[in-house]
Symmetry: C2
Subunit: 542 residues, 2 copies
């Protein structure tokens, strides 16, 4: 048996993971990695923090070099080398050395495509001035501009990377304007979960402009579609990425309707000798079973290894993707897995939604921080469809636990039984995730029906009565218009005061509301709980 020849296009998250794993599986193969840029194996995810000065050394971003990969893994890593075309018939790739311009042809037994994605650039006058952030060349360009010490910055797009850039530009001392076409920051989240993020940004002095877009860039300002002008000496665009399918399309490989390369559950493209992984590829969504783009480093790394496994003859199947993600922003942690409520409603799925506002750990131990959690559940099967969290310490933990529960096929009610590590400084005897399970159980069992913040107006218009069961002191600090106040501890005595009709009860977070609903139901009243209480309503209305 002659040794195999493996060609890999793209030398970062997916590509290099495939290359190193291939080497561990096949010491005798020729493994060639082609990378168009000047660097391989770099920390894409660290780029914003390098620009902000949080990561001080540029060299920390370079996790491996062609030399280190050569000596450890005997990989033939070629930077500034572009794969120009694939000849599927001949099983060759046309390669161009971007320094010398020389072209050559490389044969392959197996070809792995991990070309990533390219930042979307909306065409607009002056748009050339807009920087984007994807690789080391980009970061060098941005750093060069920042070293000239601009005072104002414009970030276009309030997604995860956009927000990381805002944080880092603020950290550098710039006055930052954030422009987002949608009417909320962090489009993957539901609006009431994202609202506190916009508040935090504004508190930090960021000029947050929602529901508008940049139409023109001038030398140090930008014109928005709402007619206003904002300062913009430094401009960074982060409005999303598009799978880089140039090579795949030219080679006639199948591309899906989301614009990514189509692969099977063995990561093989429509050509049996070509595999594809990473941001360039469509994943199968774990919740809907449909194709979806999920541009995350974890999946790129994992699929790189899996593609190597298949190529080396192992029998593997890729799991469907949840898309768990997290971002840190000015002391907030915001994390999500699965689907948000808004998209599931849009596709008409019957869902149940739970909001809670638990403390990161017991209230009696110093330093507890309140977080908001949201669980989205299939109304028929109790299957967990998605979760979102925002707060300080421990938000990432809760979302990871829920993502794991989803992977294990646990239902929302099952969360009540999880045995999670508890000591006063880490959690509560009922962890926030357990508590989501408790609330889910009460819904499943029909004990405490609830309505959502966005359903309140219609319900009240239809004649429901809103009963605020908080204390008068809490009510004085802010209340939902049209509510009447009967504190929980007085309901037994004052139930006869309550107007006829269905009652919607609410407290601050939903917990006392639950006890109130149980009490009222047994006293013969129809009652539902306003899910998430005043806090969720307030965030939703803001």
């Amino acid at each position: 048996m002659t040794s195999k020849r493996y060609l890999i296009i793209g030398g970062v998250a997916g590509g290099m993971s495939a290359a190193t794993r291939l080497r561990r599986l096949d010491e005798h193969a020729d493994i060639i990695v082609l990378e168009r840029g000047g660097h391989v194996s770099f920390a894409n995810c660290g780029l914003p923090y390098y620009l902000g000065g949080v990561i001080e050394e540029r060299s920390s971003l370079l996790l491996q070099t062609p030399a280190s990969l050569g000596s450890r893994f005997n990989l033939d890593v070629r930077v500034r080398t572009e794969a120009v075309a694939i000849d599927r018939e001949a099983q060759t790739v046309l390669v161009r050395d971007l320094v010398t311009g020389e072209e050559s042809t490389e044969a392959y037994d197996a070809l792995v495509l991990s070309p990533g994605a390219t930042p979307v650039r909306p065409p607009m006058p002056g748009g050339d001035r807009m920087l984007t952030l994807r690789d080391i060349d980009d970061v060098d360009r941005a750093m060069a501009e920042l070293e000239v010490a601009p005072r104002t910055a414009l970030v276009i797009g309030a997604g995860f990377i956009g927000l990381e850039m805002v944080e880092n530009l603020v950290h550098r001392g710039l006055d930052v304007t954030l422009v987002e076409l949608g009417d909320q920051v962090l489009p993957p989240l539901d609006p009431e979960m994202a609202a506190p993020v916009a508040d935090r940004l504004r508190d930090a002095g960021v000029d947050v402009r929602l529901g508008t877009q940049v139409t023109e860039l001038h030398s140090d300002t930008a014109l928005l579609s709402d007619g206003t002008t904002v300062p913009a000496e430094f401009v960074l665009g982060s409005i999303g990425v598009r799978p880089d399918t140039t090579l795949a399309v030219a080679a006639g490989l199948e591309v899906g309707e989301r614009g990514g390369i189509r692969v099977g559950d063995d990561l093989r493209t429509s050509d049996p000798h070509i595999w594809a992984i990473g941001d360039a590829v469509e994943k199968v969504d774990a919740v809907t079973g449909e194709h979806r783009l999920v541009a995350l480093a974890g999946l790129a790394n994992r699929h790189g290894r899996l593609a190597a496994d298949v190529i080396a003859g192992r029998d593997i199947r890729v799991r469907d993707a949840l898309g768990t993600a997290v971002v840190g922003l000015m002391g907030l942690t915001i994390a999500t897995t699965g689907w948000p409520e808004k998209l599931l409603r849009r596709v008409g799925r019957e869902i149940r939604v739970i909001h809670t506002h638990p403390a990161s750990h017991t209230g009696y131990y110093p330093g507890a921080e309140q977080m908001a959690l949201k669980l989205v559940v299939d109304a028929d099967t109790d299957e967990i469809l998605g979760a979102q969290g925002i707060g300080g310490d421990g938000v990432d933990k809760r979302i990871d636990v829920i993502a794991t529960a989803m992977a294990g096929g646990l239902t929302a009610s099952d969360l009540a039984d999880l045995e999670l590590a508890y000591a006063p400084q880490f959690s509560s005897a009922k962890d926030p995730v357990n508590m989501l399970g408790y609330v889910a159980l009460n819904a499943v069992e029909g004990l405490t029906p609830s309505i959502q913040w966005h359903e309140l107006d219609a319900a009240m218009a239809a004649g429901d009565v809103l009963v605020d069961v908080r204390t008068p002191g809490e009510v004085a600090a802010g209340a939902i218009p049209g509510s009447i106040n009967v504190p929980l501890d007085e309901i037994r005595a004052r139930v006869d005061e309550l107007p006829a009709g269905r009652l919607i009860v609410h407290c601050k977070v939903g917990q006392r509301g639950h006890t109130a609903v149980r009490l009222l139901a047994q006293l013969g009243r129809e009652a539902v709980n306003l899910d998430g209480g005043y806090l969720t309503w307030q965030a939703g209305e803001s």
Copy 2:
């Protein structure tokens, strides 16, 4: 239908959770909670931190009072009231008011026992002077002694609560001696995982005495079984708890061989009108299916609610128990779930063990801390049997994720596919839990066999050759006796230098060792990896 009468014995974690849930399910019942001590619904788990001054207000420990529970839940809560005997025939309990001494009889339709557990007190001369910590009366006694400002303290028993007490006494400025009969601290952990805890204690100035016990207490010193005397103005015993089965035994209820009340999966005792929950009760172990004592607040709370559900006529089944636990100690987080290696080996289970030493988050983002993780896996089925973690930030998260994976029936290999939230300050593109899955996969697939630190001596005695693949610089700082050094990156060139026979390779943590094993195997050499590398070996030998 006349209203029901529910009697609950014990008014803290399990008992009060049953009472509040019962009220939410049955507004019309009479619910009476009998509590022998002076307080209900207090934070047992906070007691050490109050003594240490971390929790400043005693009132923070009292989460509810008889009055607050009366007005919110219409509970009849009686403190300083002891249940003295159960008459199962008559369905009554003999009750004594501990203040007046008066006795009365209370009838019940359903009786819930949540009497907890009592600290074990070894008989010894002077033993009366030893304090224990279980309730508010205990904490008041201890605080009174501490306010006299002793300079030295002796803590007997190095379990979770013992260590919390050590931390808090150190925090108060006392010179602390810790005496533990076993040869390691934290007996639920495996020795190599617990070793860094003892180091941390010693670094903090604690005099840690292992493998010895206290035999006599004098006025301000203690005599140990090894003949030495240690200072001991303040003495706290924490050598474990025993289920409080006094009432249950007297009433002829079934008690299991572990000494706890036996209940079915509906939490009913051998009497169909009596339920039991909490520390007093034996749980069914999720790993072995056998009965086991698990004295944890999460289960007490959960089972309190479940008992209420059954009593109110709902159809529920209790899950088997994993026993997930965590303790914070001087900046370390130590957490565990399921079974340790040592116990599984003792019962002869065929297991596979994995040690890793990942960073809490990416190395390039500031503040990453190294942790040690251990996964114990069924060698045939790949079922996860247990996990342990020690380190700083994020250890609790990883153990919670693994406990959730266990609850969801995921195998060790499945951990590779978990989609966990990743951004540079929270994790790595391959989360430490994913990495455990990677290593597990390599074991399952036979790619990289490994041996454990405690198997090394025997293997070398049998003729295996130990190859240290770290750099010469690392080797110079400390190496395993008898190893030869060939750095990973030189193996390809120097393979012919290696002696004949089976090779055991090792690096610092096992990662380079894995690559070395793969390389050597394909170069025709039999090789195994020393699991966890030098760090695990060092911890095990210490």
